[in-house]
Homo-oligomer: 240 residues x 2
DNA sequence: GCGTTCGTTGACTTCGAAATCAGCGAACGG
DNA sequence: CCGTTCGCTGATTTCGAAGTCAACGAACGC
């Protein structure tokens, strides 16, 4: 038994490689035509393999989408968790997560596009395991926010779960501006966007003033930052 | 000519009514099964009309989706613009828009769900006129942010377009938590969420400190709100 | 009332993509 | 060098949903 394993393993590796090739092709095609809008034939052609082979590696179209999702999401989650374990204080963590997301986009725009546009939303993606994955991430992040609150690093009256949702919403929308071509995909623009997402979110969440309740009324003009260092604000208008 | 118009008009009204019925049914079915995942037969059955009638009022499935999108989006846009024209100062405007969005969800969760999940994203929706509509709204909002910056009501170093995207991203994600059932759909929860979205965003955007450039590094602990009036912040916790 | 229009019907046709499968041939064992 | 396995092929089958259309009948004008 053991003696004939060596070649078998080599073969297994080649198969795994094939599988990855198809997966990559699927990402490529999905990003161009969308999951529903593309044919298995497209994926096969893109991968340079026969139509039937796709079905050799994946039970059906849904499983293919599921695998695309899983492999992409897995990678992202791993990086996020790594980033989280490297940092301890709240602000650094937030910046790290944002950084990871934008970096992922810079490295693999197509993959991120598919994750955001195809599986991130839409009931078709929901059929896979999107629902749980999405929820899981929110819950995970919610834990971090709750912890930050306990340590006094974050305003305590905010709902952690909702805050987590808003956080990822900001990241996602920040990336979406690039995905749909609203912003030019250039490294410096990406960096500025990344920083703005992180800074804006942090500002919004870090120690907001007291209850505020349903304060849809007057804005206290004696807000701290007005009396502090507002000397330069008159020169604010930059963009028509 | 004029004499025979009265009955004709009555008939025309009935037709418009039929059309609306089908449109409503489409929203209902789309929200349950998704655009791609549902059959015209489903829409017809839901509307209580014959299969062929759907094709009498709409050229094809795409046009049906387009109409659903347009009618929904039109209503939303109109309310947003009304809200904007009623308010002049920046903070009130932001709160108004958030309010409008959440109110729309409270009144018609299904419709909002379809807008968010089906047409708001996905290349299939993009085939319609989503692309332009989405972009248009961002551009519109960007104008408001630019104006706010000119008036000194908003931090000047933020990119208006990106800010607009983040704004709608926050709203959308805030609503998504309810759409996917992450948050319980109850009026008081909705209200709290709405306020948190508005407050968090405003805090994040209103007069952030100077350039900050690529400040992904240290957080200056002499941030204005720390040294100013932080005396009451310990009593902030209200809920659990 | 009587003919005509036209909204309405739903069985039928069409079409295209998913999924199948019988067989080929390269890689391997002996 | 021959036999066998099994990864791989792509024409073929299957299936289901989009879109058509001929006919019906209710509402209308005369």
């Amino acid at each position: 038994m053991a003696t004939k394993r060596a070649p078998k393993l080599a073969r297994a590796e080649r198969e795994a490689e094939r599988r990855k090739t198809i997966l990559r092709a699927a990402v490529e095609v999905f990003s161009r035509k969308g999951f529903q809008g593309c044919r298995i034939a497209d994926v096969a052609r893109e991968a340079g393999v026969a139509y039937g082979l796709v079905y050799h590696y994946f039970k059906d179209k849904d499983e293919l989408l599921g695998s695309v999702f899983e492999s992409g999401w897995q990678g992202f989650l791993a990086r996020v968790q790594a980033a989280l374990s490297e940092q301890t204080d709240f602000e650094s963590r937030i910046r790290s997560v944002v950084h990871v997301a934008f970096e992922a986009y810079r490295r693999d725009p197509r993959g991120v596009k598919v994750l955001i546009l195809e599986v991130g939303r839409s009931p078709s993606g929901g059929a896979v395991n999107r629902g749980s994955a999405f929820t899981d991430v929110i819950e995970l992040a919610a834990g971090i926010f709750a912890e930050a609150q306990a340590r006094g690093e974050m305003a305590s009256h905010l709902d952690p779960k909702l805050t987590a949702a808003l956080f990822f919403g900001s990241i996602e929308m920040g990336l979406t501006t690039f995905v749909v071509g609203l912003m030019e995909r250039r490294d410096d623009v990406l960096e500025r966007a990344r920083d703005q997402v992180a800074e804006t979110f942090l500002r919004g969440v870090t120690h907001a003033r007291a209850p505020a309740a349903s304060a849809a009324e007057a804005l206290p003009s004696e807000a701290p930052w007005n009396s502090a260092k507002s000397g330069t604000r008159s020169r604010a208008a930059r963009r028509d």
